[in-house]
């Protein structure tokens, strides 16, 4: 108990030294990019930047799938020469219902349904209702798989789009099932990024059906879409997609030779080129709409077959819009629409102010605690102070090792840990005092004091640990940083108090063999 083996002494010293070493990267400039350099990252609240929480619109995923499924159902039935009535989509129940023209055709209908393409195995099930209605229901398990894929894919697209804006060091992570967190250090005005992420950028090329002006509803197989070219006017555009934006290989901002305005050039892959060639060849004289997110950007009349696989989109763009549209087309369409549900932007000056205020408070608090300990606990108080300093160093070391992010609440957590760490030392010292009062010899008092206090320290720290682990699990954002700091702080507190400061006291006693203890 009172004897510390050399190896124990050395290992405690080694841990402290290692801690000090791990802290170094935080105060020294990184020498080369190739050297791993574990350091504490500053949170957005300390260095300025933007935090965006994006919500994935999952219901649109179901709706889109039902729509495309009902389109292929219609086509399959027609090409199999089967009739149908009342095709209806019910997004809430994730199902499509229709009735066969004649109940006797039911079996052939079901056969056609079997052959409908599925994007994932067992994507939907088919049931026949007593009234001969046939229902196609999307399977919830399969939808979950698709959702997961869609969110992963959305994260990929978001990353590509943000990288294209030249943002430095963006962090893009999934949160829960249907949220994406985007952190943009240094960008305190994320307007452009929000605009880019708020656009699905689903581009399609579809034929236009000319309607007499003022027709209120679209013919079957068509949808009325607003035109950005001529605000207020609607165009009947075929639901059938002739060329999909997926087949784009490149896009760039350019100028239109004829008008001198800005335009976006694009080129297609081989599949797209062939499709584009076929459609334009067969439909010379008709209008071909370029549809972006259910808005017609432009609907030029096809003059000749276009077989080169490239073209330009004019539209009323300015330089900025053209650049961004090209960026969006290059990065690809989002599989699901995203909306920003939370934004937090902090200017760099406020971040710098916060870190200064936090560091100052930390320093003053530290000094106050040191003075207090020295005044009230004398020599043992100083040992506690050494342990306190080691505690701070070790905390920084572990945070660096994890590459943790330090936030303002995290700094508060650090300060609080320092206060709590003192508690463990006070418990030990007070206990030794008590044992002395009971008439024990210095050695026996120290021994009993350490032993009894250790049990109490473990008990009290275990409760605090539990509370903060809960906070970490259920907390979000800054609260998590706070909980993490305290959880790490509890670990380092146990080390610095139960090993380091105790060892200092014991070593002092072993060296001087005093007849009374300075408590």
């Amino acid at each position: 108990m009172m004897y510390y083996s050399r190896i124990k002494l050395l290992s405690v010293a080694a841990v402290c030294l290692l801690g000090a070493l791990l802290c170094v990267p935080n105060f020294v400039r990184k020498p080369a990019a190739s050297i791993p350099w574990p350091e504490i990252h500053l949170g957005l609240d300390l260095r300025g930047g933007s935090y965006l929480l994006l919500q994935v619109d999952l219901s649109s995923l179901t709706r889109d799938r039902l729509q495309s499924l009902s389109d292929s159902l219609r086509q399959s039935l027609i090409s199999a020469n089967l009739g149908y009535r009342n095709i209806a989509i019910n997004p809430d129940r994730a199902e499509i219902t229709f009735q066969p023209r004649d109940p006797s055709e039911k079996d052939r209908d079901l056969k056609v349904l079997d052959d409908l393409p599925r994007t994932v195995p067992n994507e939907f099930s088919v049931t026949t209702r007593p009234d001969d209605t046939i229902a196609i229901t999307l399977d919830s398990g399969a939808m979950r798989v698709r959702t997961h894929d869609a969110v992963s894919q959305a994260i990929e697209i978001v990353r590509r789009r943000i990288d294209a804006t030249g943002a430095v060091d963006p962090q893009i992570t999934r949160q829960g099932e249907d949220r994406i967190v985007v952190e943009l250090p240094g960008i305190s005005d994320p307007e452009r990024v929000k605009a880019l992420l708020g656009t699905t950028a689903k581009m399609t090329f579809r034929l236009v059906d000319e309607l007499p002006p003022g027709t209120p509803i679209a013919p079957p197989g068509d949808t009325l879409l607003p035109s950005t070219d001529h605000p207020g006017s609607m165009l009947a555009v075929r639901n059938h997609v002739d060329v999909d934006g997926v087949n784009l290989t490149n896009a760039g901002a350019t100028t239109d030779d004829q008008t001198g305005g800005w335009a976006v050039s694009f080129s297609l892959d081989s599949v797209g080129t062939r499709a584009f060639g076929d459609v334009t060849q067969a439909n010379v004289g008709r209008r071909f709409a370029i549809v972006l997110d259910n808005k017609v950007i432009e609907a030029p009349v096809i003059r000749t077959a276009i077989t080169g696989g490239s073209g330009i989109i004019t539209g009323n763009f300015d330089a900025h819009q053209a650049t961004d549209l090209a960026l969006l087309l290059r990065a690809g369409a989002l599989p699901v629409p995203l909306t920003v549900v939370e934004e937090r932007s902090i200017g760099p000056s406020l971040g710098a102010d916060s870190i200064r205020a936090g560091a100052l408070s930390l320093l003053i608090g530290f000094v106050l605690v040191i003075i207090f300990m020295a005044l009230f606990y004398g020599r043992f108080g100083w040992y506690a102070n050494v342990a306190l300093f080691a505690n701070l160093v070790l905390m920084l070391a572990i945070l660096s090792l994890f590459g943790a992010t330090l936030t303002l609440p995290g700094m508060a957590g650090m300060l609080l840990t320092l206060g709590m760490a003192v508690d463990a030392n006070i418990l030990i010292i007070e206990r030794i005092r008590e044992e002395l009062k009971r008439g024990r010899t210095p050695l026996a008092a120290m021994q009993a004091g350490f032993e009894r206090a250790t049990a109490t320290v473990l008990d009290s720290n275990a409760t605090a640990f539990l509370a903060h682990v809960m906070l970490f699990v259920f907390g979000t954002g800054p609260v998590r940083g706070f909980a993490l700091t305290i959880t790490i702080g509890i670990a380092t507190t146990l080390f610095s108090t139960l090993l380091l400061s105790r060892m200092l006291m014991v070593r002092w006693y072993a060296l001087t063999r005093p007849s009374t203890l300075p408590v």
Partner: protein
């Protein structure tokens, strides 16, 4: 300073009869907590952006801010604000907007940016926070969930390590502490947000820590003095740990104090609540937790001469 201590909290032995004031203590606590609960319902907490939803934009203008022009520009952009106000220096402007399900919160932030840029060229946006209504209610739910689960964990832990009387008195005391903190928040108008939830959880953690230390001593004394009446035993245990209790509270108080004064707008509220919680938590260990234990355990914990507490696990 490097040798013997220069100051002490309590002279040698104290024999304060804390349990004599137990009913006064419990009554005071009950009244304060009840008042806090009433304050919670009326006028209620000042909910921060996290839980209320909406938009807060903080701007710094070059030169003194012209609030009239900013208001005009905002109106010109069709932005309805809950308030355009000064805070801090003459060049600091704070604009608040309530949460609105209908409008796209984030487009509004950008509109506000534009409006400020028009009204006061050279102004910089220092901070812009927007929280959607659905997110805010979710954050609120998660915050309360974290609080509730922490309480349950603490209850379970103390039950496991001590006895159910200890666990129950601790958790009742914690709830009383918690309600008082809420009352404090209502009175001071500090905004209740995620950081405040962290503050409250910290108070809970700290207060529990304090109670566990006293309980530890009570348990030890229950074993040491087999025949001492519980009331005397509690007084003895509190007196024995008094010096430590005051020492620890003072250090934590000293550590949090600079944060309250110099921590800046975002942390000072947190720190003030902490300071309040330290005082409440320390006093409740003595005046509430121990008397409750006396009420609950007077019969059971001292029933016979068997060791009244489970052996160490």
């Amino acid at each position: 300073m490097f040798g013997r201590p220069l100051l002490r909290f309590v002279r040698k032995d104290t024999h304060i009869n804390f349990m004599r004031g137990r009913f006064a203590g419990l009554a005071t606590s009950a009244v304060l907590s009840l008042a806090s609960v009433i304050l919670f319902f009326h006028p209620g907490l000042t909910l921060g952006l996290d839980f209320r939803g909406g938009i807060v934009v903080e701007a710094k203008t070059s030169g003194p801010a012209d609030f009239g022009r900013i208001r005009t520009a905002l109106t010109a952009h069709n932005i309805k604000t809950d308030g355009v106000q000064a805070f801090g220096g003459p060049d600091d402007v704070l604009i608040r907007l309530g949460a609105n399900e209908q409008t796209n919160t984030n487009a509004v932030v950008d509109e506000v940016r534009h409006a400020i840029a028009e009204a006061q060229p050279g102004a910089t946006i220092v901070r812009a926070d927007a929280v959607g209504a659905s997110v805010s209610s979710e954050l609120f739910r998660n915050g309360l969930l974290a609080l509730g689960i922490s309480l349950l964990m603490i209850l379970g832990y103390i039950w496991f390590r001590f006895e159910w009387e200890f666990a129950l008195s601790a958790v009742v005391t914690l709830v009383l502490d918690l309600t008082k903190t809420v009352g404090f928040l209502v009175l001071t108008h500090f905004e209740f947000d995620l950081v405040m939830v962290a503050a409250i959880l910290t108070i809970l953690g700290y207060s529990t820590n304090d109670k566990v230390v006293v309980y530890d001593r009570i348990r030890e004394n229950l074993r040491r003095y087999r025949t001492m009446p519980l009331r005397e035993l509690l007084d003895l245990s509190i007196n024995e740990t008094l010096s430590r209790t005051l020492g620890t509270s003072t250090t934590v108080f000293l550590a949090a104090l600079p944060l309250a004064f110099f921590g800046g707008a975002s942390l000072s509220g947190f720190a003030w609540v902490m300071l309040f919680g330290i005082v409440v938590g320390t006093s409740s260990s003595i005046f509430i937790a121990a008397p409750l234990l006396l009420l609950l355990g007077e019969k059971r914990l001292r029933k016979d001469t068997r060791p009244a507490v489970k052996q160490e696990i």
